[in-house]
Amino acid sequence: MTPAAVHDALREKTRVKLWEPVLWLAPLAVVALFPGSSFLVNQMAIMALFAISLDLVLGYAGIMSLGHAAFFGMGAFAAGLFAKFVMPEPIVGLVFAMGVGGLTAYVCSYTILRGSALTVVMVTLGVSLILLEIGNYMTWLTGGADGLQGVVMDPVLGLFPFTFDGVTAAYYSLAVLAVFLVVYRRIVNSPFGTSLRVIRDNRLRAYSIGIDTNRRIKLAYTLAGAIAAAAGAVQTHSMNFASLDAFAFERSADVLLMVVIGGTAWIYGGVIGAIVFIGLHHVLSDLTPQYWTFWVGVFLVLLMRVGRDRLIRPWTWFKGGPHG
């Protein structure tokens, strides 16, 4: 085998596959063809963005976070307040929110460097809940339990006003998601992205080959915080409203479910997880508004017991023994 073959083998993994751009564009077509789906698509896009952000720390860097809503919430409120008190331009607001989220995440990153997975889970969870309490306490700023009302956004790029049917919002969040997917794709395939996986797999060895593991983790966390904040900002922009639920444990838990459903350490895992989870929720809660949680539960149990791969290939269910 020649050096060139080695080179190709390494590049092969990171090449953009043919179906990927299709995947990025397909949702636009869905909204264009079925404008009624805009709310659903919008929500999926926002959560997909949030999910890939979590996957960067959870899947790639191996940091167990159960408080990722902290950054989503910071983004949601930063965007809302910025629009309300500074300027209602969405893109500037988005960038501002990302800055706030990234900064928050950077500060928080110092708390996640030590301890077992459970410790990290609890610290991240604790941080998000504390932010929630602070938000609740600062009612004068955040609106407290009533939420931040009266956010009105300018048209996107000065051209596309947010419409009541949610179509602009859906395009907007899809566009943001697409941009981030392209960026994200590049990042996880970069030396930096690889070093995160190295750290996740074996921190001692990563350290001993010369990686300043703490710094990399802080960087990844900051980045993820900024992306999560972008998701929060898009949510505020498309709803004209931010509520403290954005910080809630349930949101952190939901996004975790999405990432795991779709598969961790995989660019499209979060996207697929968001589509499946939100789609499922949507269908089930329409069918049985009272008991949809039951079926979600059944789905999760089945998914894990049958296995993600096998669930989508039912014909394998009855073949093969315990070793299969």
């Binding site: 590049r11 030396p191 690889t194 797999d201 001993s208 960087l219």
Partner: protein
């Protein structure tokens, strides 16, 4: 005439685990290009000593110098960046990465690309060429695209050493590199070690005396955390104390007696 500083020099290292003195005032100097072996009974503190040198553990007292510069309090990754690299007695690998990715990550890291986010890992020809060379040298080309967790033990051991060499060490610490490697494959690893550049300083820990005596031109014996002696191989193998605590007298089966003769 100014003396050239030792490549690596440890003096008066002490390490306690609770009541146990795992390293008791140990000093050791490696010249540039040294071929030095560290032996001693099980639990004598050899691995602990390596852990102290590389920064996995902080010594209770004592100092460590690399090329004349004090690195006693330097974090592990900085020591490694300065060329002090080790292998582990128990493999420390990146299980979900392939050998190719692993080596590319290490080589990339050494080229200072580690925190680059906006270029692809495989974009750099220099990196892939270096990876190719390492894969070839360690006979990993055929498995380079399989996840590390699926490799047979022998290959895993070779990858362990390949990672260390990918770090471009100037001082290399090998902790039982052939542990668990079948006799028939030991010669491969031995050949690799013997072919390492002459100006690289190497400290070898091994219980396989064939390997030790064919490799080292200087030896240190640790017992109960303390330095028993440092000398050339012949002196060590003939020392009654070393026989007593480590090599044995061959009092058992005649077979072991025979092989002991070969050590000397």
């Amino acid at each position: 005439m100014a003396e050239e500083p030792y490549a690596l020099s440890a003096s008066g290292l002490v390490m306690r685990f609770g009541g146990l003195l795992a390293t008791n005032n140990v000093s050791l100097n490696l010249k540039k290009g040294a071929r030095h072996a560290l032996i001693g009974p099980n639990g004598a503190g050899k691995t602990t000593f390596v852990n102290l040198l590389t920064g996995v553990l902080r010594p209770s007292s004592g100092t460590i110098h690399l090329d004349g510069r004090d690195i006693t309090t330097l974090p592990m990754h900085k020591r490694s960046a300065r060329g002090l690299v080790r292998t582990f007695q128990i493999n420390q690998l990146f299980e979900t990465l392939t050998p190719l990715e692993t080596l590319a990550a290490v080589v990339g890291e050494r080229s200072g690309l580690g925190s680059k986010m906006w270029r692809l890992l495989g974009a750099d020809r220099n990196i892939t060429e270096r990876c190719h060379a390492l894969l070839e040298q360690f006979r990993l080309l055929d498995v380079m695209s399989r996840p590390t967790s699926q490799l047979p033990y022998g290959k895993r051991r070779q990858l362990e050493i390949a990672i260390a060499l990918a770090c471009e060490p100037r001082v290399l610490l090998l902790d039982e590199p052939v542990a668990g490697v079948p006799a028939s494959e030991r010669s491969d690893i031995l050949a690799i070690i013997n072919a390492l550049p002459a100006d690289m300083s190497i400290l070898l820990i091994e219980h396989d005396m064939d390997l030790v005596f064919s490799f080292a031109n200087r030896m240190t014996v640790l017992v109960n955390g303390a330095l028993l002696m440092e000398a050339d191989p012949l002196t060590v193998s003939n020392d009654p104390r070393v026989k007593e605590v480590y090599l044995g007298h061959g009092a058992g089966t005649d077979e072991t007696a025979q092989s002991e003769v070969r050590y000397a």
